[in-house]
Protein backbone atom coordinates (compact mmCIF):
# COMPACT_ATOMS: atom_id res chain seq x y z
CA UNK A 1 0.00 0.00 0.00
CA UNK A 2 1.21 3.49 -0.76
CA UNK A 3 0.18 6.92 -1.96
CA UNK A 4 0.41 7.90 -5.62
CA UNK A 5 -0.71 11.22 -7.09
CA UNK A 6 -0.87 11.59 -10.86
CA UNK A 7 -1.08 15.11 -12.32
CA UNK A 8 -3.38 16.40 -9.61
CA UNK A 9 -4.78 19.90 -10.07
CA UNK A 10 -7.25 21.62 -7.84
CA UNK A 11 -8.99 24.85 -8.71
CA UNK A 12 -10.82 26.91 -6.10
CA UNK A 13 -14.00 28.71 -7.24
CA UNK A 14 -13.73 27.42 -10.80
CA UNK A 15 -15.48 29.52 -13.42
CA UNK A 16 -15.55 32.72 -11.34
CA UNK A 17 -13.28 35.73 -11.27
CA UNK A 18 -11.88 34.44 -7.95
CA UNK A 19 -10.65 31.21 -9.57
CA UNK A 20 -7.26 30.21 -8.22
CA UNK A 21 -5.23 27.04 -8.40
CA UNK A 22 -4.71 25.34 -5.05
CA UNK A 23 -2.64 22.65 -6.72
CA UNK A 24 -1.10 22.62 -10.17
CA UNK A 25 -0.21 19.35 -11.86
CA UNK A 26 1.21 17.64 -8.79
CA UNK A 27 2.63 14.13 -9.14
CA UNK A 28 4.04 12.32 -6.16
CA UNK A 29 4.69 8.88 -4.74
CA UNK A 30 4.98 8.18 -1.03
CA UNK A 31 5.98 4.66 0.00
CA UNK A 32 4.78 2.80 3.09
CA UNK A 33 6.40 3.88 6.34
CA UNK A 34 8.06 7.03 5.02
CA UNK A 35 8.30 10.19 7.13
CA UNK A 36 7.72 13.13 4.80
CA UNK A 37 7.98 16.80 5.72
CA UNK A 38 6.17 19.37 3.61
CA UNK A 39 7.34 22.97 3.67
CA UNK A 40 6.39 26.12 1.78
CA UNK A 41 5.09 29.63 2.33
CA UNK A 42 1.50 30.20 3.50
CA UNK A 43 -0.89 29.60 0.62
CA UNK A 44 1.49 27.32 -1.28
CA UNK A 45 -0.96 24.41 -1.35
CA UNK A 46 0.35 22.28 1.53
CA UNK A 47 -2.98 21.93 3.33
CA UNK A 48 -4.82 21.48 0.04
CA UNK A 49 -2.49 18.58 -0.74
CA UNK A 50 -3.19 16.84 2.59
CA UNK A 51 -6.93 17.29 2.16
CA UNK A 52 -6.73 15.50 -1.19
CA UNK A 53 -4.89 12.54 0.30
CA UNK A 54 -7.78 11.76 2.63
CA UNK A 55 -10.51 12.75 0.21
CA UNK A 56 -11.81 15.89 1.91
CA UNK A 57 -11.11 17.65 -1.37
CA UNK A 58 -11.45 16.11 -4.79
CA UNK A 59 -9.07 16.98 -7.61
CA UNK A 60 -10.37 19.09 -10.48
CA UNK A 61 -8.24 16.93 -12.75
CA UNK A 62 -5.81 14.04 -12.37
CA UNK A 63 -6.18 11.06 -10.07
CA UNK A 64 -4.81 9.64 -6.82
CA UNK A 65 -4.42 6.16 -5.52
CA UNK A 66 -4.24 6.07 -1.74
CA UNK A 67 -3.93 2.78 0.12
CA UNK A 68 -5.48 0.95 -2.81
CA UNK A 69 -8.39 3.34 -3.32
CA UNK A 70 -8.65 5.37 -6.51
CA UNK A 71 -9.90 8.94 -6.23
CA UNK A 72 -10.88 11.03 -9.23
CA UNK A 73 -12.99 14.12 -9.73
CA UNK A 74 -16.10 11.85 -9.64
CA UNK A 75 -18.15 11.69 -6.47
CA UNK A 76 -17.64 8.48 -4.49
CA UNK A 77 -17.89 7.09 -0.96
CA UNK A 78 -14.61 7.69 0.80
CA UNK A 79 -15.27 6.39 4.31
CA UNK A 80 -12.96 3.43 3.62
CA UNK A 81 -10.20 5.89 2.74
CA UNK A 82 -10.68 8.08 5.83
CA UNK A 83 -10.37 4.93 7.96
CA UNK A 84 -6.85 4.42 6.63
CA UNK A 85 -5.65 7.96 6.34
CA UNK A 86 -5.82 10.18 9.42
CA UNK A 87 -5.62 13.95 9.12
CA UNK A 88 -4.92 16.20 12.09
CA UNK A 89 -5.71 19.83 11.33
CA UNK A 90 -3.98 22.94 12.67
CA UNK A 91 -4.98 23.70 16.26
CA UNK A 92 -6.93 20.41 16.44
CA UNK A 93 -7.94 21.05 20.07
CA UNK A 94 -10.69 23.28 18.64
CA UNK A 95 -12.51 20.15 17.45
CA UNK A 96 -12.94 18.65 20.95
CA UNK A 97 -16.59 18.48 21.96
CA UNK A 98 -17.40 15.54 24.25
CA UNK A 99 -17.87 15.53 28.02
CA UNK A 100 -14.95 13.23 28.67
CA UNK A 101 -11.61 12.64 27.03
CA UNK A 102 -12.35 8.96 26.40
CA UNK A 103 -15.67 9.77 24.72
CA UNK A 104 -14.06 12.35 22.50
CA UNK A 105 -11.36 9.96 21.34
CA UNK A 106 -14.07 7.32 20.74
CA UNK A 107 -15.91 9.58 18.26
CA UNK A 108 -13.86 8.43 15.26
CA UNK A 109 -13.93 4.67 15.98
CA UNK A 110 -17.68 4.84 16.70
CA UNK A 111 -18.22 6.47 13.32
CA UNK A 112 -16.44 3.47 11.82
CA UNK A 113 -19.23 1.33 13.25
CA UNK A 114 -17.01 -0.71 15.59
CA UNK A 115 -18.38 -2.57 18.60
CA UNK A 116 -18.15 -0.80 21.97
CA UNK A 117 -15.53 -3.24 23.28
CA UNK A 118 -13.29 -2.70 20.29
CA UNK A 119 -13.78 1.05 20.60
CA UNK A 120 -12.71 1.06 24.26
CA UNK A 121 -9.66 -0.95 23.33
CA UNK A 122 -8.78 1.52 20.57
CA UNK A 123 -9.19 4.52 22.89
CA UNK A 124 -6.86 2.95 25.41
CA UNK A 125 -4.26 2.14 22.78
CA UNK A 126 -4.42 5.59 21.23
CA UNK A 127 -3.95 7.29 24.60
CA UNK A 128 -1.03 5.01 25.30
CA UNK A 129 0.61 5.80 21.99
CA UNK A 130 0.25 9.56 22.38
CA UNK A 131 1.46 9.54 25.97
CA UNK A 132 -1.74 10.20 27.93
CA UNK A 133 -2.47 8.19 31.07
CA UNK A 134 -5.72 6.30 30.46
CA UNK A 135 -6.82 5.69 34.04
CA UNK A 136 -6.33 9.18 35.38
CA UNK A 137 -7.54 11.09 32.31
CA UNK A 138 -10.30 9.05 30.64
CA UNK A 139 -13.18 10.54 32.64
CA UNK A 140 -11.92 14.09 32.76
CA UNK A 141 -13.30 16.86 30.62
CA UNK A 142 -11.12 17.69 27.60
CA UNK A 143 -11.64 21.38 28.38
CA UNK A 144 -9.93 21.31 31.78
CA UNK A 145 -6.50 20.11 30.74
CA UNK A 146 -3.47 22.07 29.51
CA UNK A 147 -3.02 23.19 25.92
CA UNK A 148 -0.37 20.59 25.17
CA UNK A 149 -2.55 17.80 26.57
CA UNK A 150 -5.58 19.00 24.61
CA UNK A 151 -3.57 18.73 21.46
CA UNK A 152 -2.58 15.16 22.37
CA UNK A 153 -6.21 14.24 22.99
CA UNK A 154 -7.12 15.63 19.57
CA UNK A 155 -4.36 13.64 17.88
CA UNK A 156 -5.39 10.51 19.83
CA UNK A 157 -8.89 10.99 18.39
CA UNK A 158 -7.41 10.45 14.93
CA UNK A 159 -4.98 7.71 15.98
CA UNK A 160 -7.88 5.70 17.46
CA UNK A 161 -9.17 5.18 13.94
CA UNK A 162 -6.03 3.11 13.47
CA UNK A 163 -4.81 4.77 10.29
CA UNK A 164 -1.84 3.47 8.33
CA UNK A 165 -1.06 7.02 7.25
CA UNK A 166 -1.03 9.92 9.70
CA UNK A 167 -0.95 13.47 8.35
CA UNK A 168 -0.48 16.47 10.61
CA UNK A 169 -0.82 20.15 9.67
CA UNK A 170 1.47 22.23 11.90
CA UNK A 171 1.24 19.86 14.86
CA UNK A 172 3.31 22.06 17.19
CA UNK A 173 1.91 25.50 16.30
CA UNK A 174 1.22 27.60 19.39
CA UNK A 175 2.78 25.10 21.85
CA UNK A 176 5.52 26.24 24.18
CA UNK A 177 9.06 24.83 23.72
CA UNK A 178 8.55 21.99 26.18
CA UNK A 179 5.22 20.95 24.66
CA UNK A 180 6.78 21.20 21.22
CA UNK A 181 9.78 18.98 21.86
CA UNK A 182 7.70 16.41 23.76
CA UNK A 183 5.15 16.12 20.97
CA UNK A 184 7.87 15.78 18.34
CA UNK A 185 9.48 13.02 20.37
CA UNK A 186 6.13 11.21 20.60
CA UNK A 187 5.61 11.46 16.85
CA UNK A 188 9.10 10.13 16.15
CA UNK A 189 8.46 7.13 18.41
CA UNK A 190 5.08 6.56 16.78
CA UNK A 191 6.71 6.48 13.39
CA UNK A 192 9.39 4.06 14.51
CA UNK A 193 7.32 1.59 16.55
CA UNK A 194 4.04 1.61 14.62
CA UNK A 195 5.67 1.82 11.18
CA UNK A 196 3.05 4.40 10.37
CA UNK A 197 3.48 6.63 7.31
CA UNK A 198 3.96 10.18 8.57
CA UNK A 199 3.28 13.34 6.56
CA UNK A 200 3.91 16.58 8.41
CA UNK A 201 3.51 20.22 7.46
CA UNK A 202 5.56 22.70 9.43
CA UNK A 203 6.87 26.24 9.20
CA UNK A 204 9.82 25.42 11.41
CA UNK A 205 12.74 24.18 9.32
CA UNK A 206 14.53 22.90 12.40
CA UNK A 207 11.50 20.83 13.32
CA UNK A 208 11.04 19.45 9.80
CA UNK A 209 14.73 18.55 9.61
CA UNK A 210 14.52 16.70 12.90
CA UNK A 211 11.55 14.48 12.04
CA UNK A 212 11.48 13.79 8.29
CA UNK A 213 13.44 11.44 6.05
CA UNK A 214 12.31 13.27 2.96
CA UNK A 215 11.42 16.90 2.36
CA UNK A 216 9.01 18.36 -0.17
CA UNK A 217 8.99 22.08 -0.86
CA UNK A 218 5.83 23.59 -2.33
CA UNK A 219 5.19 26.98 -3.82
CA UNK A 220 2.17 28.37 -5.68
CA UNK A 221 0.52 24.96 -5.75
CA UNK A 222 3.50 23.17 -7.26
CA UNK A 223 6.15 20.83 -5.91
CA UNK A 224 9.40 22.71 -6.38
CA UNK A 225 11.74 20.33 -4.57
CA UNK A 226 11.57 16.72 -3.37
CA UNK A 227 14.74 15.37 -1.76
CA UNK A 228 15.98 13.16 1.07
CA UNK A 229 16.62 15.26 4.18
CA UNK A 230 20.41 14.85 3.87
CA UNK A 231 20.42 16.65 0.52
CA UNK A 232 17.50 19.02 1.04
CA UNK A 233 19.39 21.99 2.45
CA UNK A 234 22.36 22.02 0.08
CA UNK A 235 20.93 24.60 -2.30
CA UNK A 236 20.49 27.61 -0.01
CA UNK A 237 20.04 30.04 -2.93
CA UNK A 238 17.06 28.00 -4.10
CA UNK A 239 15.38 28.35 -0.70
CA UNK A 240 15.97 32.09 -0.77
CA UNK A 241 14.47 32.26 -4.24
CA UNK A 242 11.34 30.57 -2.84
CA UNK A 243 11.18 33.08 0.03
CA UNK A 244 12.17 30.41 2.56
CA UNK A 245 14.95 29.81 5.03
CA UNK A 246 17.04 26.70 5.58
CA UNK A 247 17.51 25.54 9.21
CA UNK A 248 19.75 28.02 11.01
CA UNK A 249 22.51 25.44 11.51
CA UNK A 250 22.51 24.59 7.79
CA UNK A 251 22.90 28.29 7.18
CA UNK A 252 25.95 28.43 9.44
CA UNK A 253 27.48 25.48 7.58
CA UNK A 254 26.67 27.05 4.24
CA UNK A 255 28.33 30.33 5.15
CA UNK A 256 31.44 28.57 6.42
CA UNK A 257 31.64 26.58 3.19
CA UNK A 258 31.15 29.70 1.11
CA UNK A 259 34.17 31.14 2.91
CA UNK A 260 36.08 28.13 1.53
CA UNK A 261 36.15 26.02 4.68
CA UNK A 262 36.54 22.25 4.25
CA UNK A 263 33.10 21.02 5.32
CA UNK A 264 31.23 18.47 3.26
CA UNK A 265 27.57 19.24 3.87
CA UNK A 266 25.00 21.72 5.22
CA UNK A 267 24.08 19.62 8.24
CA UNK A 268 20.88 20.65 9.96
CA UNK A 269 21.32 19.24 13.45
CA UNK A 270 23.54 20.67 16.19
CA UNK A 271 25.21 17.28 16.80
CA UNK A 272 26.18 16.67 13.17
CA UNK A 273 27.41 20.23 12.75
CA UNK A 274 29.46 20.02 15.95
CA UNK A 275 31.18 16.80 14.80
CA UNK A 276 31.88 18.18 11.34
CA UNK A 277 33.33 21.43 12.69
CA UNK A 278 35.43 19.64 15.32
CA UNK A 279 36.92 17.42 12.64
CA UNK A 280 37.69 20.40 10.42
CA UNK A 281 39.34 22.27 13.31
CA UNK A 282 41.56 19.27 14.07
CA UNK A 283 42.63 19.07 10.44
CA UNK A 284 43.45 22.77 10.27
Amino acid sequence: MSITLKNISHEYNPGTTFATFGLKDVSLHIADGEAVGIIGPTGSGKSTLLQHINGLLRPTSGELEVEGIRITSEKQNLSELRKNVGLVFQYPEYQLFEETIAKDIAFGPLNLGLAQEEVDQRVKEAMDLIGLDYESLKDRSPFEISGGQKRRVAIAGVLAMNPSVLMLDEPTAGLDPLGRSQLLETLRTLHKTKKITLIIISHSMEEIASISQRIILMKNGEIRMDKPVEEAFEDVEFFEECGMDVPVISRVMYELRKAGKPLSRNYASVEEAREAILQAVRHA
Binding site: P41, G174, D176, L178, S181, L256, V270, R274, I277, V281
Partner: protein, 272 residues
Protein backbone atom coordinates in the same frame (compact mmCIF):
# COMPACT_ATOMS: atom_id res chain seq x y z
CA UNK B 1 8.32 53.77 33.96
CA UNK B 2 6.61 50.82 35.59
CA UNK B 3 7.35 49.50 39.05
CA UNK B 4 6.10 46.30 40.67
CA UNK B 5 6.42 46.00 44.46
CA UNK B 6 6.02 42.46 45.80
CA UNK B 7 3.18 41.73 43.43
CA UNK B 8 1.19 38.51 43.74
CA UNK B 9 -1.93 37.47 41.88
CA UNK B 10 -4.16 34.49 42.59
CA UNK B 11 -7.08 33.61 40.30
CA UNK B 12 -8.82 31.27 42.72
CA UNK B 13 -8.61 31.57 46.51
CA UNK B 14 -7.26 28.10 47.12
CA UNK B 15 -5.02 27.82 44.07
CA UNK B 16 -1.34 28.59 43.70
CA UNK B 17 -0.60 32.20 42.87
CA UNK B 18 -0.17 32.73 39.10
CA UNK B 19 2.23 35.57 39.90
CA UNK B 20 4.19 35.09 43.10
CA UNK B 21 5.88 37.99 44.89
CA UNK B 22 7.41 39.72 41.87
CA UNK B 23 9.31 43.00 42.23
CA UNK B 24 10.82 44.72 39.24
CA UNK B 25 11.17 48.02 37.42
CA UNK B 26 10.87 48.60 33.69
CA UNK B 27 12.79 51.70 32.66
CA UNK B 28 11.60 54.28 30.15
CA UNK B 29 12.75 53.38 26.62
CA UNK B 30 13.98 49.88 27.41
CA UNK B 31 13.28 46.74 25.41
CA UNK B 32 12.49 43.87 27.76
CA UNK B 33 11.73 40.30 26.67
CA UNK B 34 9.81 38.06 29.05
CA UNK B 35 10.09 34.32 28.51
CA UNK B 36 8.42 31.40 30.21
CA UNK B 37 6.36 28.26 29.68
CA UNK B 38 2.61 28.21 29.35
CA UNK B 39 1.33 28.59 32.87
CA UNK B 40 4.47 30.31 34.14
CA UNK B 41 2.43 33.45 34.84
CA UNK B 42 3.77 35.68 32.10
CA UNK B 43 0.40 36.60 30.60
CA UNK B 44 -1.02 37.27 34.05
CA UNK B 45 1.90 39.58 34.71
CA UNK B 46 1.18 41.42 31.48
CA UNK B 47 -2.46 41.97 32.43
CA UNK B 48 -1.39 43.39 35.79
CA UNK B 49 0.54 46.14 34.00
CA UNK B 50 -2.49 47.92 32.53
CA UNK B 51 -5.09 47.28 35.21
CA UNK B 52 -6.84 44.48 33.31
CA UNK B 53 -6.03 42.60 36.53
CA UNK B 54 -5.45 44.13 39.95
CA UNK B 55 -2.82 42.48 42.20
CA UNK B 56 -4.17 40.46 45.13
CA UNK B 57 -1.05 41.53 47.04
CA UNK B 58 1.50 44.27 46.44
CA UNK B 59 1.30 47.28 44.13
CA UNK B 60 1.81 48.05 40.45
CA UNK B 61 2.83 51.64 39.67
CA UNK B 62 2.52 53.10 36.18
CA UNK B 63 4.04 56.59 35.98
CA UNK B 64 3.40 56.94 39.71
CA UNK B 65 -0.23 55.86 39.34
CA UNK B 66 -1.28 52.85 41.37
CA UNK B 67 -3.37 50.40 39.31
CA UNK B 68 -5.52 49.80 42.39
CA UNK B 69 -6.87 53.32 42.20
CA UNK B 70 -9.85 53.14 39.83
CA UNK B 71 -9.60 56.83 39.10
CA UNK B 72 -6.43 56.12 37.11
CA UNK B 73 -7.63 53.02 35.21
CA UNK B 74 -8.20 54.81 31.89
CA UNK B 75 -5.04 56.89 32.16
CA UNK B 76 -3.06 53.74 32.83
CA UNK B 77 -4.56 51.87 29.89
CA UNK B 78 -3.89 54.83 27.62
CA UNK B 79 -0.29 54.76 28.84
CA UNK B 80 0.33 51.03 28.56
CA UNK B 81 -0.95 49.68 25.25
CA UNK B 82 -1.38 45.98 24.70
CA UNK B 83 -1.25 43.70 21.66
CA UNK B 84 -2.64 40.21 22.22
CA UNK B 85 -1.97 36.74 20.87
CA UNK B 86 -4.85 35.88 18.55
CA UNK B 87 -5.03 38.30 15.61
CA UNK B 88 -8.66 37.35 14.90
CA UNK B 89 -9.94 37.96 18.41
CA UNK B 90 -8.75 41.50 19.01
CA UNK B 91 -9.99 43.35 15.94
CA UNK B 92 -13.29 45.15 16.52
CA UNK B 93 -14.15 46.94 13.30
CA UNK B 94 -14.88 45.94 9.72
CA UNK B 95 -12.59 48.50 8.09
CA UNK B 96 -8.89 48.98 8.89
CA UNK B 97 -9.07 52.73 9.54
CA UNK B 98 -12.04 52.29 11.88
CA UNK B 99 -10.09 49.62 13.71
CA UNK B 100 -7.15 51.94 14.28
CA UNK B 101 -9.48 54.76 15.30
CA UNK B 102 -11.25 52.65 17.93
CA UNK B 103 -8.89 53.54 20.81
CA UNK B 104 -8.75 57.31 20.19
CA UNK B 105 -12.54 57.32 19.75
CA UNK B 106 -12.89 55.80 23.20
CA UNK B 107 -10.63 58.53 24.56
CA UNK B 108 -12.99 61.15 23.15
CA UNK B 109 -10.43 62.72 20.86
CA UNK B 110 -11.47 65.22 18.21
CA UNK B 111 -12.24 63.63 14.78
CA UNK B 112 -9.68 65.76 12.93
CA UNK B 113 -6.97 64.69 15.40
CA UNK B 114 -8.04 61.03 15.12
CA UNK B 115 -7.67 61.29 11.36
CA UNK B 116 -4.06 62.46 11.77
CA UNK B 117 -3.26 59.76 14.30
CA UNK B 118 -4.72 57.00 12.12
CA UNK B 119 -2.68 58.15 9.13
CA UNK B 120 0.48 58.32 11.22
CA UNK B 121 -0.06 54.98 13.00
CA UNK B 122 -0.74 53.12 9.75
CA UNK B 123 2.37 54.63 8.25
CA UNK B 124 4.50 53.50 11.18
CA UNK B 125 3.53 49.87 10.68
CA UNK B 126 3.64 50.14 6.88
CA UNK B 127 -0.05 49.44 6.34
CA UNK B 128 -1.20 52.76 4.82
CA UNK B 129 -2.37 51.21 1.55
CA UNK B 130 -4.73 48.88 3.41
CA UNK B 131 -6.59 51.73 5.08
CA UNK B 132 -9.98 51.03 3.51
CA UNK B 133 -9.78 47.24 3.43
CA UNK B 134 -11.69 44.85 5.69
CA UNK B 135 -9.21 43.38 8.23
CA UNK B 136 -10.46 39.81 7.91
CA UNK B 137 -9.00 39.59 4.40
CA UNK B 138 -5.47 40.32 5.64
CA UNK B 139 -2.72 37.85 6.60
CA UNK B 140 -1.98 37.12 10.26
CA UNK B 141 1.11 39.34 10.27
CA UNK B 142 -0.82 42.21 8.70
CA UNK B 143 -3.64 41.84 11.24
CA UNK B 144 -1.14 42.09 14.08
CA UNK B 145 0.40 45.18 12.50
CA UNK B 146 -3.09 46.73 12.39
CA UNK B 147 -3.48 45.84 16.08
CA UNK B 148 -0.16 47.61 16.76
CA UNK B 149 -1.35 50.66 14.83
CA UNK B 150 -4.52 50.63 16.92
CA UNK B 151 -2.41 50.85 20.05
CA UNK B 152 -0.04 53.48 18.59
CA UNK B 153 -2.98 55.73 17.78
CA UNK B 154 -3.59 56.03 21.53
CA UNK B 155 -0.03 57.40 21.86
CA UNK B 156 1.08 55.20 24.76
CA UNK B 157 4.43 55.33 26.54
CA UNK B 158 4.79 51.60 26.56
CA UNK B 159 3.49 48.63 24.57
CA UNK B 160 3.13 45.11 25.93
CA UNK B 161 3.14 42.32 23.34
CA UNK B 162 1.44 39.32 24.92
CA UNK B 163 2.68 36.42 22.73
CA UNK B 164 1.73 38.46 19.69
CA UNK B 165 3.90 36.32 17.41
CA UNK B 166 2.85 32.88 18.69
CA UNK B 167 0.18 32.19 16.07
CA UNK B 168 1.98 33.61 13.03
CA UNK B 169 3.92 31.95 10.22
CA UNK B 170 7.63 32.86 9.86
CA UNK B 171 6.89 35.68 7.44
CA UNK B 172 4.24 37.17 9.72
CA UNK B 173 6.55 36.84 12.71
CA UNK B 174 9.30 38.72 10.89
CA UNK B 175 6.89 41.48 9.88
CA UNK B 176 5.75 41.98 13.45
CA UNK B 177 9.26 41.78 14.94
CA UNK B 178 10.44 44.34 12.41
CA UNK B 179 7.62 46.66 13.41
CA UNK B 180 8.56 46.18 17.07
CA UNK B 181 12.21 46.98 16.40
CA UNK B 182 11.17 50.13 14.55
CA UNK B 183 9.23 51.24 17.61
CA UNK B 184 12.20 50.51 19.81
CA UNK B 185 14.39 52.72 17.59
CA UNK B 186 11.93 55.52 18.16
CA UNK B 187 12.34 55.15 21.90
CA UNK B 188 9.14 53.28 22.78
CA UNK B 189 9.27 51.20 25.96
CA UNK B 190 8.57 47.61 24.99
CA UNK B 191 7.76 44.43 26.87
CA UNK B 192 7.74 41.44 24.54
CA UNK B 193 6.29 38.24 25.94
CA UNK B 194 7.16 35.18 23.89
CA UNK B 195 8.21 31.57 24.03
CA UNK B 196 10.53 31.86 21.08
CA UNK B 197 14.00 32.19 22.60
CA UNK B 198 15.50 33.59 19.37
CA UNK B 199 13.37 36.72 19.82
CA UNK B 200 15.21 37.48 23.06
CA UNK B 201 18.63 38.03 21.50
CA UNK B 202 17.90 41.62 20.44
CA UNK B 203 16.52 42.72 23.85
CA UNK B 204 18.20 45.04 26.35
CA UNK B 205 17.14 42.73 29.10
CA UNK B 206 15.63 39.26 29.40
CA UNK B 207 13.34 38.04 32.17
CA UNK B 208 12.67 34.32 32.62
CA UNK B 209 9.55 33.32 34.53
CA UNK B 210 8.87 29.98 36.15
CA UNK B 211 5.97 29.07 38.45
CA UNK B 212 4.94 32.69 38.93
CA UNK B 213 8.39 33.95 39.88
CA UNK B 214 10.99 35.86 37.90
CA UNK B 215 13.92 33.44 38.10
CA UNK B 216 16.40 35.09 35.74
CA UNK B 217 16.84 38.78 34.96
CA UNK B 218 19.87 39.86 32.93
CA UNK B 219 21.03 41.09 29.50
CA UNK B 220 20.73 38.42 26.76
CA UNK B 221 24.48 37.72 26.59
CA UNK B 222 24.48 36.75 30.23
CA UNK B 223 21.21 34.81 30.07
CA UNK B 224 22.40 32.69 27.17
CA UNK B 225 25.76 31.99 28.77
CA UNK B 226 23.88 30.25 31.57
CA UNK B 227 22.97 27.31 29.32
CA UNK B 228 22.73 24.72 32.10
CA UNK B 229 20.41 26.89 34.14
CA UNK B 230 18.17 27.47 31.12
CA UNK B 231 17.99 23.73 30.56
CA UNK B 232 16.93 23.31 34.16
CA UNK B 233 13.94 25.57 33.54
CA UNK B 234 13.36 23.53 30.36
CA UNK B 235 13.83 26.58 28.20
CA UNK B 236 14.75 26.06 24.59
CA UNK B 237 18.23 27.26 23.72
CA UNK B 238 18.58 28.85 20.26
CA UNK B 239 20.53 26.40 18.10
CA UNK B 240 23.31 28.83 17.22
CA UNK B 241 23.97 29.42 20.90
CA UNK B 242 23.73 25.72 21.64
CA UNK B 243 26.27 24.89 18.92
CA UNK B 244 28.67 27.56 20.19
CA UNK B 245 28.26 26.25 23.73
CA UNK B 246 28.95 22.64 22.73
CA UNK B 247 31.99 23.63 20.69
CA UNK B 248 33.36 25.55 23.65
CA UNK B 249 32.86 22.46 25.81
CA UNK B 250 34.97 20.54 23.30
CA UNK B 251 37.80 22.98 23.87
CA UNK B 252 37.29 25.31 20.90
CA UNK B 253 37.94 28.87 21.95
CA UNK B 254 34.87 30.92 21.11
CA UNK B 255 33.86 34.03 23.03
CA UNK B 256 30.98 33.81 25.49
CA UNK B 257 28.91 36.57 23.89
CA UNK B 258 27.93 34.87 20.64
CA UNK B 259 24.20 35.35 20.12
CA UNK B 260 23.69 35.55 16.38
CA UNK B 261 24.61 33.36 13.43
CA UNK B 262 26.89 35.99 11.89
CA UNK B 263 28.99 36.21 15.06
CA UNK B 264 29.45 32.45 15.21
CA UNK B 265 30.49 32.24 11.56
CA UNK B 266 32.90 35.13 11.97
CA UNK B 267 34.61 33.53 14.98
CA UNK B 268 34.74 30.07 13.44
CA UNK B 269 36.26 31.13 10.14
CA UNK B 270 39.85 31.72 11.35
CA UNK B 271 39.80 28.39 13.24
CA UNK B 272 39.03 26.19 10.24
Amino acid sequence: MIRLDNVSFTYDEDEFPAVDDVSLTIEEGSFVVLIGHNGSGKSTLAKLLNALLIPTEGDVWVEEMNTKNEEYTWDIRKNVGMVFQNPDNQLVATVVEEEVAFGPENLGIDPAEIELRVTDALEQVGMSEYRHRPPHMLSGGQKQRIAIAGVLAMQPNMIVFDESTAMLDPQGRNEVLEAIENLKEKGMTILLITHFMEEATVADRVLVMDKGKVVMDAPPVEIFSRVEELREYQMEIPQVIELAHELREQGISLSEDILEREELVEELCPLL
